[in-house]
Symmetry: none
Subunit: 204 residues, 4 copies
């Protein structure tokens, strides 16, 4: 996001790197703007000038560290089951990894009290991921592999809502077997009726 009025690209980069490193080292809660500034060798004002909140810096730091989002699109092999199973496994894997997991958990937390951050996280971090899944589901729906009356946003939630629930509440570990179980159940919910003669269910 190069801003023409911004002078020091070096500072911007150092800030994002410092934020990303520090959030991994001390956790989001103990992260301070002063520490980021010190680590980045930057005046506090330089941070306050360009970012409205700690969360915004961390979000940018995370996005910068993730690199290009071109690989978000799900493969479409024609096999819905396999494709979705793949993405569920990938998410479970990602959420199970302690490092990244902590940061994004903190971001999801912080957005609860910070509407601007919420918007940012949703539009730039989570939104694209959800949209990618929805896209694949739409293709499957068009191919008649999923119920025609599905609300795709709900469908996505049926797939990954359980994962996030377990991840946030830490009620149980996130394992590949769990990914399979969830995929199975979700697909059962999303699949068309075996006898497609009448799709008059009460689904909206």
């Amino acid at each position: 996001m190069p801003d023409s009025t911004r002078r020091s690209e070096r500072s911007r980069h150092a800030i994002l790197t410092a934020a990303h490193e520090l959030v991994a080292e001390v956790g989001y809660r103990k992260l301070t703007i002063e520490a980021i500034a010190a680590r980045a060798g930057v005046g506090k004002q330089t941070i306050y000038r360009w970012w409205p909140s700690k969360g915004a810096v961390v979000l940018d730091g995370m996005l910068a560290a993730m690199g290009d989002p071109e690989d978000l699109a799900l493969p479409d092999t024609g096999d819905v089951d396999a494709d979705l199973r793949g993405v569920v496994h990938a998410i479970v894997e990602e959420l199970a990894e302690p490092g990244l997991s902590g940061t994004s958990r903190s971001l999801m937390i912080e957005m609860q009290d910070d509407p601007d951050l919420a918007e940012g996280v949703l539009e730039r971090l989570l939104g694209p991921q959800l949209a990618a899944i929805a896209d694949r589901l739409r293709a499957a729906q068009d191919a008649g592999q999923l119920r025609r009356d599905l609300d795709l946003s709900v469908a996505v939630e049926m797939l990954i809502g359980p994962l996030y629930h377990r991840w946030l509440l830490r009620t149980a570990p996130l394992t590949p077997a769990y990914a399979d179980t969830v995929t199975d159940l979700a697909l059962r919910a999303l699949a068309p009726d075996r006898l497609a003669s009448h799709g008059e269910d009460r689904l909206e």
Copy 2:
């Protein structure tokens, strides 16, 4: 949690009440121990003596305000669909309500960085609710209304995971219609195969 060495029941009650009131008034983030102490007419040390963190006080305050948890048990009318639809509607309603919602959202936030609080929230607030749903599901399973090979904890997550996902990410509003949709889809996932002749699915 009556402690034999604790002296002033009056103070304990005043603290929990103040915490509950204040978290509703100013929100969790802006809530301070000093404000709780001042409102409760209590020395700060009295709070620090009995609670390890702000989150712990708020959790206790919330539990105290909720009263006895005997009414958590779901009704069992014999009609799984209706009973679960009822609890999903209740949860959606609760999560949609701004006041309570904010507090528990904050607690879920705080537990991410505080394992002790996480344990407390899970065991005393969320655990019982999840267990109540699991109990009802078990009864339905025993009655042959749900798949025999269900992992009940996963089943619970299929029901309410989507709700929490939408609630935390604020991707869309929580409405009664949404509650119905989720119930329908979840039940479809949990129901036994129409032709029970072959339950060989890969569910664990």
Copy 3:
């Protein structure tokens, strides 16, 4: 000072001992009632019951550690010079010793803001010492060895005022040579005129 209504002589003694030890270990300023109570194995209330202030406890502890004050009376060898030189040397020695010095310095300090303590220190600690010197001076005066028109309390101050000044302000070390110098000068001030024919000085 055994009080008939006092129950535990053991407690009283333990408190005074603890106070005396602690003031030597951590200094008066860092001495706390709580520490005295803990060291003495006594409830705080037991201290507050019998002493009005920290200073009072320390004063009593000091007096208890000093033992009987019978040896305060100065010798009267008939030689004023020698007798006073002796007491000045003794005081200088005492003030130069770090341990005792610190405690009594602290007491003199504390009395500045605590009239009750001031009275106690004056009547029970310093008063008797000053009176002993005054007594010896009076004897000398009666023997014609000192000016007849001397105000004895001022005379005492001429002798030991300089010592305390140097001690409190730490402007220079207190040495035996200094004791001699002060004694010489003070005696010169207090001695009768060489030609006693006219004592018309303006001394009151």
Copy 4:
């Protein structure tokens, strides 16, 4: 003590003024850093940043309120008796005045446990006053009005040691008559022998 890195002269002045006012209003013991900060409209950290202790602030406040120390030099009318009598009267007057007296008494107290403060008080507050007296005494000595073998620092103590002794111990009130008495006696001690033919006294 202007520090090149110090920014707000306004704050510095407000702090010193507040300290000076408050110590007069509530006394040194009850004076708190928080109260100074509040009165000065300043953050506590701004005080802690520049002063190591409460005593240091009060000392600076006192020095600031006293203004330039150029008028410390004693007059030299050629009449030692009159000049010294004047300064003794001035000191007695100053010590007898409740306001200033309390503050400097507190400072003398505090320096007992705080070597840094002791150094400050000595060098910046008391030292110059003592030096001024010593200077006058030296002139008198050079003029043959005082004993040639005098240690001037001891001589100063003979003059004002008695005053401070009475002031600190409050054994008796400080009156002009007392000032005269002390001056008379001290001068008698410091004066050269009437028959100056042999100054071989034991004075060092």
